[in-house]
Amino acid sequence: MNQAEIKKIKKVLLLGSGALKIGEAGEFDYSGSQALKALKEEGIETILINPNIATVQTSEGVADKIYFLPVTPYFVERVIQKENPDGILLAFGGQTALNCGVQLYQAGTLEKYNVQVLGTPVQAIMDTEDRELFVKKLDEIDVKTIKSEAVNSIEDAAKAAAELGYPVIIRAAYALGGLGSGFCDNEEELRIKAEKALSFSPQILVEKSLKGWKEIEYEVVRDRYDNCITVCNMENFDPLGIHTGESIVVAPSQTLTNSEYHKLRELAIRIIRHIGIVGECNVQYAFDPKSEDYRVIEVNARLSRSSALASKATGYPLAFVAAKLGLGYGLFDLKNSVTKETSAFFEPALDYIVCKIPRWDLGKFQGVDRELGSSMKSVGEVMAIGRTFEEAIQKGLRMIGQGMHGFVENKDLVIPDIDKALHEPTDKRIFVISKAMRAGYTVDQIHELTKIDCWFLQKLMNIVRTAQELEKTDLAQLEADKEAGRELMRRAKVQGFSDFQIARALWKEEMEDCHMHWVRRYRKSLGIVPVVKQIDTLAAEYPAQTNYLYLTYSGIANDVKYLGDKKSIVVLGSGAYRIGSSVEFDWCGVQALNTIRKEGYRSVMINYNPETVSTDYDMCDRLYFDELTFERVMDIIELENPHGVILSTGGQIPNNLATRLDEQHVNILGTTASSIDNAEDRHKFSSMLDSLGIDQPRWRELTSLADIYDFVKEVGYPVLVRPSYVLSGAAMNVCSNNTELEQFLQLAANVSKKHPVVVSEFIQHAKEIEMDAVARNGEILIYAISEHIEFAGVHSGDATIQFPPQKLYVETMRRIKKVAGQIAQALNISGPFNIQFLAKNNDIKVIECNLRASRSFPFVSKVLKINFIELATKVMMGLPVEKPGKNEFDLDYVGIKASQFSFSRLQKADPVLGVDMASTGEVGCIGLDTSEAILKAMLSVGYQIPQKNILLSTGSAKQKADMLEAAQLLYEKGYSLFATGGTHQFLTDNGIPAVKVYWPSESEHEPQALEMLHNKQIDLVVNIPKNLTQKELDNGYKIRRAAIDFNIPLITNARLASAFIQAFCSLNIDNIQIKSWDEYK
């Protein structure tokens, strides 16, 4: 392709990655957005297919046409038919886009419509994805791979394992993030894991395990002229055996010598050339810790989570460059986007270390296996930047946001068997190391048990030594001997200690907030303050105008100058993606940044999530890739001296800082800190509602079981119980009787004067309604009311949400508007807010109110086509805004937001929905009516229209009745129904034929439901838990878990099941309209 050929490409289709799921998260919003930017720069028309409505890439102006449709061959072909693009990009939407592209290629679709694959050819992709082809390909150039055999049956797997020798690892071919893979120490384990892996993929791989080897990755770029660079290498803190997505990772590598580093680099280049990548790929190695022996683990011929991390770690925009190379450019044609003068053909030199730490949310799941292994379970990650390893990792451990203050000075962890916990890693592994060091374990002992390289452990030991020194320090002496004090404080700060950690080390149990302030004052008086450094890709060798910054204590001077003109506005980001806070807040943050810039202020972002667009240094005038702790935010505000700070677009993390920032006289833009506190504090909010005469579910904060019983007598079961101190398991639960209540409180929580429990009345069969709105000085400017498909009891983050509502009484809507208006006025809201309501008949009750943007802001903004955040930002900036002249009653279409679950990755977790959130992502689709929208949305989150057989267990009598109509429809459509005892009886009584199947507890009878699932005889499972009795839970659990493990679509809610069934029975897939976002008017 020469320049003339590049010019010929006029229209390009880009495939997104769909909903965020474990193994495929926000990093693809970032890579897709970068690619679209690169195409736009070339004047190419861009079409994007991505049902993930909360992403930045699906925002106005990023792509020319956006389709909120499933990324599946069927829908992509229909879009190609309609749009007739010249080219397609497959490498920017994760495994989802890659798999879809390979299928389209193999089916001849791309050829049929004359669509050119830009970048890496599909054959090269297949060479890396099919294990056998891959090994053969690398054998051709004498590159060592892990000895592995591809097999198609359990028997062959057992034979292969016997030949290789245990331990072995099993992987499913063509699977994202190591889905369906695992280690097996013996044949018994192998058979279990092989069966499961085969349910995901027709081919599985049996490999010799190299547990304990180092895991090293290289990000490699190649252009069509065969020029290659490695942009970054990374080293896993955790040795091989733990999925790289589950590992703490540092960049660049720390324990490799020059000869080792360049040996692997040279191999990576040899591989990328031989495979024929054009663009970017990632090469993963296992590396012997005792020689220079290596194995290639895998090659990802696409942008990946690691490439997003590498981009942020180095400042080298991999996705942007890969897109340009896909168009035919050479690396020498492109400029380094940081220096803007030097060439893009170079390898970044870092003068800092980055540390990535995964964020898990395993506590949200009942029964989940907490051990880390070869398949990914983490839901997000953070990246910390420092100039010592100690600084980077302590920052990172604070960033993951699970109540930890760093490597030391955390609340004590109860570890019954440290040896075991070191040897069998869980999500707590790093804190187990901390505990072990405190318990006197040596570096060598910990190394023996964990195989973590001693270098990392030595550095961690430095942190422990400093902590011990601080703990021994006499306060009076600190005041007296300033020189010794300075020395100690500086060392602690260089090692990443927060003021909080230092205060806790000094005051121990007696420590209070004021002591943290004392530390801050003390060290500042000694001149110990952080400095701001740039990430400039060339380690200061060339001048760079970069705005990509971090703070460190290893330094004496700032890289940037501060103007102090009060023309900047700081936006606080949302931190690590986790269950409950994800890409939607990134969208909000980016919209706020855009608005600030448009209005002539300099935008400043603080965030530390490498999977985001808001941490792309192009998106703002200054990016501080740093912590969102009170201490660090204050450090930055003191340097930046901004006009004000926006807290309300980053979810709960920034919101929680409101009061403390206000105490320091920080100018919080929009709603005041005291109003935020009045909404957040349960007691204050409740008494406000009482005074306004607004109804709410009855609740009480109680400190003894006797008091709880008294309250239950008043309101009746079921009740929602929220402990303030959680021992294990879910943070809240619905209890239907005394036994359940006692069981939950005994197992999960601690009730005492110090740890009260909030018990609320739980209203059944009530609708849940959300209002997202923007107000100015207490007056609502714009609002969106949406309704949940499921009844209350399913967390709003898991519920399927319809906007505008189709089944709400006008009266209900009117009351909601009125109540929201009263609340907005009472709290004098200026900015975004969200209120959740319960509605039964025409009664409405307020559940909660958040004075910040909510999860559904991008969804309602995009469906209504009014940017709520832009409006809110202008309000917060005090700019004049017009009340939009449009509202949801004007829409001739419907939006459905559906949730994506990742239960298949969370081994043993019960895939049931409850009051605590479990989904990892969401999609939003638009249709002409509810059925069309829901069908698109459900297909987008991985459901399929069932072929023939459906298994029903539909719960309680009420739920069974709710499902009757749907069952009738299925029968009429010719589906074969299979039902467990009660459901079967109910269907038969109502004249619907069904085959009776048996629960696992009825093992003497045939057919067994579980067996049918194993044999893949079922296409859809509807399993609705009736109650929480042990037997019911156990039976239902086995069915639900089997459905997940054998990759059979599962629905556990009667109302959602009905809606989905209604949709696919009433609408043929071919009648779904292929309309881009802008065509819905």
């Binding site: 010598t257 360049h262 030097t342 030199a349 003068d351 010592t388 450094k533 060798e541 330094g555």
Partner: protein
Amino acid sequence: MQTTKKASLILDDGTVLPGKSFGYEKPVAGEVVFNTAMMGYPESLTDPSYSGQILVTTYPLIGNYGVPRREEENGLSRFYESEKIHVEALVISDYSFEYSHWNADKSLADWLKEEKIVGIYDIDTRELTKRLREHGSMKGKIVFEGGEDIDFIDPNLTNLVAKVSCKEVIRYGNGSKKVVLVDCGVKHNIIRCLLKRDVTVIRVPWDYDFNTLEFDGLFISNGPGDPDMCGITVEHIRQAMKGDKPIFGICMGNQLLSKAGGARTYKLKYGHRSHNQPVRKVGTNKCFITSQNHGFAVDNSTLGADWEPLFINMNDGTNEGIRHKSKPYFSAQFHPEAASGPTDTEFLFDEFVNML
């Protein structure tokens, strides 16, 4: 935590950067230069081209993997680039007092102390680098708390090549072709790269008249300092160019070959010292990432009529190699032998050996 002595780096513009000692303790002076490589400190420290210089590493974490054993193979060091440390001092940000590597023999600190080389840490090496970038390389010195002072030294005023070159002729290997290697401060990996290719290497001192020897090809090595100090070497090269035997030069070798061909050299503001210098082969789309360590460069515009640039630096357009238009003479300003650094251009040794 180790108790360490305080030491300061003082630049000749008056800047004082306080740090702490982790190496040998004696006052030292030299030219302060920075290197942006992220690994390879044992190789860098033993590279003779650093003679007379105080080396600043921009990568902050140093010492992680200790240093390897002193082992010889065919008369060459196995893991190092020469017989000893050549830098005057090492300046870093964060030192790893403990190290971890299967091939390590001792810590970097112990090695520095053994070889009586100064090392200081806890320096803001980024800020220091920015100053060197803005002012150009500066003279500097390191003094210890309570210790003696020392005068600034400009090492480029002395003949550093003479200091680091071998003192007598040394032969290596028993290959089918004979290559005379003019040692201006050669890195051992250059000799290893030649030996790998069935070559006998005859290593001669920088001022040795090799034209008296019998050989198939001439190699001119890297070396420290100002090429203008090596007039006699240039004369010998000119003499050799009267014949048609292949000539290959690296780094200082590129500068001396250029001078022999009539070109001039000049001092760069702060030099190229890194593992990530991009070069493009002139007239092609072929680009390479190279390892570099030089403070002087060849002025492209002064190349004689028979010569042309072979490689150009893609960042600043400076000369990265030359070739003769008709004769088998060529050279590279960068280091195809790597060690430390990327190995992308090792093929230049093949090209040279194929010419013999």
